[in-house]
Symmetry: C2
């Protein structure tokens, strides 16, 4: 099992490698989704597969969380891991961490029932609960740095350039 001591080494080694070769910093991530039921989707990510579905109230079979729940899981887990990375960088102990995320969505956007209602979340709230022995102002500094450097928070809070193509076969 990786320890936080080795995590610190990995962060330092990664930083050194990227300083020597900035091209090493560029990473491509990918996911391939197949519609395998009415709303059921199997997603392959490397050697792993995850299942996503809609609840029965939205026409699915409830075989997995739905896409917007997955987006909230991505956000909460990214906050948690970014807290871990930056607590290591700052040398702060982190004894326990829970991140609660909730988002409000108006389904009229998805179904195109009314103009001017966005398809995604109108608002998202993140509540971080943290335990540790350091002074409160150190954790406040940690929080500020995490919110500046959390990848999935950046995806939510800012606009990402997305291109789409479609092919028939």
């Amino acid at each position: 099992m990786t320890t936080t001591a080795s995590l610190k080494t990995i962060i330092e080694d990664t930083s050194a490698a990227v300083a020597a070769d900035p091209g090493a910093a560029s990473v491509t991530f990918a996911a391939e989704s197949d519609l395998v039921g009415v709303c059921e989707v199997d997603v392959r990510i490397g050697d792993k597969t995850v299942k996503i579905d809609e609840p029965q109230t939205l026409g699915g079979g409830g075989a997995g969380p739905n896409p917007v729940e997955f987006a909230l899981a991505a956000l909460g887990s990214c906050q948690a891991i970014t807290y871990r990375f930056w607590s290591e960088k700052l040398g702060l102990r982190l004894d326990a961490l829970r991140v609660q995320v909730r988002g409000d969505l108006d389904v009229r956007g998805l179904f195109g029932m009314q103009d001017g209602i966005r398809a995604g979340f109108g608002t998202v709230e993140i509540a971080v609960h943290l335990s540790g022995p350091e002074p409160a102002n150190r954790y406040a500094e940690l929080r500020r740095l995490v919110d500046e450097h959390c990848p999935v928070l950046d995806i939510f809070a800012n606009s990402v350039p997305v291109s789409t193509t479609m092919s028939l076969r």
Copy 2:
């Protein structure tokens, strides 16, 4: 198992219910993430739990996809399900659907190694592969409507208001 015939009924019933009571359109989704290892996170979403971790190269144990991969899974699956919803609304047959999503990320953003590099994806590409018997222009119309109404595409492409709080305990 839900059939696409019942999906069409559910879409119509949901639309009628929301037309009668717009408050019924507002849905809250939630996810609770606990850091259970160095970078390993258990996320509870309703009665389901998913596991997220970093690969060993980033200091984790590789017990699950990482948060940005989860974000891409959310995006690809949301495209797939929105294709299903809108093909039902338009009365178009959809025989098979695969959605490939890839995103490029510069890890210098996460690690705060250089100002001006964003923490999340610099670019994201979606490639949709679709099979069905309808004329190509109908599927082109479908694609346009999906991209206007896909909730997770909206989260990526546009800015979402996110608030954060932190409590020590």
